[in-house]
Symmetry: C2
Subunit: 406 residues, 2 copies
């Protein structure tokens, strides 16, 4: 087979993750081993860097920098959220021609896969030989066909440990402050919110309730669920997706809409957690606390999953090999091998398919009541988050007889 | 010297920390080595457990439980926030007499030291021989006399790493989303907020601005500071104390007061971060993001400082030895040894002094502008947070010449 000679460009797109730089390093290292790849360029700020021709030579980076990037969260090239306009595609091809770029490796989610797909289509239409291969990345875990998306396992590990620890905090404050909500990322899919259940050792551990966008729920129902947990455990720690919907299908808190701010006369939008917190105070009559770790979910390096770090690296190397082998208009996928020991290999999916779809939590990954993940979800997700977490312990509480009256 | 024979009680009070159980274990293990201490009791839910006589036998706990507690965040006995009433003190003494409790070891902050002090006073007035010794604990680090408070170093390490990581996240999103605020605990003292500066490797790293309660600042001034950072670094990541005050001395956001909620007709209080975020959007004209890790700051076990874990244990052992040696109405302190290598021994401070005071950040721990900690603060705090953090790396960014026109 005659391999396509030319230069390669890699870009990072969308929200960064704690391991996305592993995919960048994987591309660079694999590309440098391929004779047909001449120069290895990085696009500054994703596709914007292509449009305005802000390209970096990645082969000149010292290997100590590349190795360091494997432990540095966030997108080292700079990322972007930019919706391409129609003329942009022609401009991309113009830049590719000027620099003899024959390989496009694009790391991102659905939108990024759509970008890579569109560029491939235009190149084909114009007879410009190009290999466009997508590398999956999203903490939302909502790309189809792939078993899971690099970036998700580390975010899941962070969420699992964060809700575990804040759960123990809640437990130790006892009846004075028994309800806590953690708001978790994921507007349309509940994968990350469900992962809150992964660090639980016992029934009484947090989270006690998990609400995801796939399963609409009324505030009144949440209130009833919380009352039941208070009865049973003396506390209720809730993992709440930012995208959770009420029985009418509207995002919880959305109709609360706005807040008047005296000094500026602005309207400030509150989120699901503020709204639900206030409502629960009324229904259950206790204090309600909340945590909103927001961006920490996708960048917290000390909770990176070792499985995720390695897979983010491997999918990128596979992507370069596939491109060099002549594949284009595809995204590399993770394919879980059957068997009891967790192991993934890589596969391929058409970019067009991936770009158009969102993978929701399957119905049987949540219980019937829609308020907790099933064992099937746990079996799916637990191998992804890496090393087992150190167990926490409770006192046995050997109470002694009272003898001081009252 | 004739040592006071009798039983010992230990309690945990106020907000838990990631290492407070080390102080509990320190008390139990040291007490079990002292012949004059007969039984070792734990009070369930702090002083409430004494009032309602809910006491646990801690000597029956297996050593594997005690060892496990050293790595378990939150207060294993259960904690409490309860302001004692006048008659409560007599009841405490009643319970102590009934159980022959002669040693009170109380782990907490100012309020807890006040409790221990008052119990000591009443015992003395009634001729009941009692040793009351306080063990410092607070992520706020605001107890006087002691060099620092166990619990603070671990919270500081979490805050430093969290703002570092969210800073890299902000950096990688570039101009599309260049301002981020992290709200940090500490209503009256800026110790924890200042610790955001501890993980910075370079000038351009987060945080770029740090605002503490000790240094009132106008929203307009913050806006100017942010504009300057955007000019200089292209981004501005802000560590904002929840207790930061404006030029009138009022908490920022306090007068924003309330939010109407349609469905329930409630008023919901917004915090400093929402208010400032909205104001900055107006002043700087960019997106403003924020993180509010709330309780994660005091419970996140995977960012525990190894120094803190050990010191929380040592102060507790020292407290028992001091009590057995006849001291009472004192709190154990950490005393930093002079010399280049960090090392602390323990000392003692009168409970009454500690109970009445709050240690603010010294003036020379913040710069003149009041928007960043000084090197003096860094020198004070860095040794506390334990092992050095793994360095992160940036690409050198070897840009290549443009050749595609436009």
């Amino acid at each position: 087979m005659v391999r396509l000679r030319g230069n390669l460009i890699v870009g990072q797109s969308g929200g960064p993750t704690a391991v996305i730089n592993n995919s960048l390093v994987g591309v660079v290292r694999e590309a440098m081993q391929q004779d047909c790849v001449e120069e290895v360029y990085g696009a500054r700020w994703g596709i914007r860097g292509v449009l305005d021709e802000t390209l970096m030579d990645l082969q000149r980076e010292h290997d100590s920098v590349l190795e360091g990037l494997r432990y540095t969260p966030s997108a080292a090239l700079g990322s972007v959220r930019y919706k391409l306009k129609e003329d942009d595609y022609a401009r991309i091809l113009e830049v590719f021609r000027a620099h003899n770029i024959r390989y496009l490796l694009y790391i991102g989610g659905n939108d990024s896969m759509n970008t890579a797909h569109r560029v491939h289509q235009l190149a084909e239409a114009e007879g410009y030989e190009l290999r466009a291969v997508g590398i999956p990345k999203t903490v939302d875990n909502d790309l189809i066909i792939t078993d899971h998306c690099p970036g998700y396992p580390s975010a899941a590990r962070f969420v699992a440990t964060a809700i575990r620890d804040t759960g123990w905090d809640t437990e130790s404050m006892g009846p004075s402050s028994p309800v806590k909500i953690m708001e978790i990322m994921g507007r349309d899919a509940g994968w990350l919110t469900a992962s809150a259940a992964l660090a639980r050792q016992a029934d009484e551990d947090a989270p006690h309730l998990v609400y995801v966008p796939e399963r609409p729920v009324s505030v009144e129902q949440i209130g009833q669920d919380v009352l039941r947990c208070l009865e049973k455990y003396g506390r209720a720690v809730i993992a709440l997706s930012e995208g959770v919907r009420d029985e009418t299908g509207e995002a919880i808190g959305a109709h609360q809409a706005a807040v008047e701010i005296d000094a500026f006369g602005h309207r400030l939008k509150g989120g699901a957690v503020e709204y639900l917190g206030q409502a629960l105070r009324d229904i259950v009559g206790t204090k309600v606390r909340y945590d909103r770790p927001n961006y920490l979910q996708r960048c917290f390096a000390s909770e990176v999953s070792s499985v995720d770090r390695e897979e983010a690296y491997l999918v990128a190397r596979a992507a370069v090999r596939d491109a060099v082998a002549g594949r284009s208009d595809v995204m590399v996928t993770l394919v879980r091998e059957p068997g009891s020991e967790y192991h993934c290999t890589t596969g391929l999916a058409p970019l067009a398919n991936v770009a158009d779809a969102v993978k929701k939590l399957p119905n049987d990954f949540m219980n019937e009541a829609g308020n907790f993940p099933t064992e099937k979800f746990i079996e799916y997700a637990r191998p992804l988050i890496g090393e087992p977490l150190a167990p926490y312990v409770r006192l046995n509480r050997f109470f002694i007889p009272k003898k001081a009256g009252r």
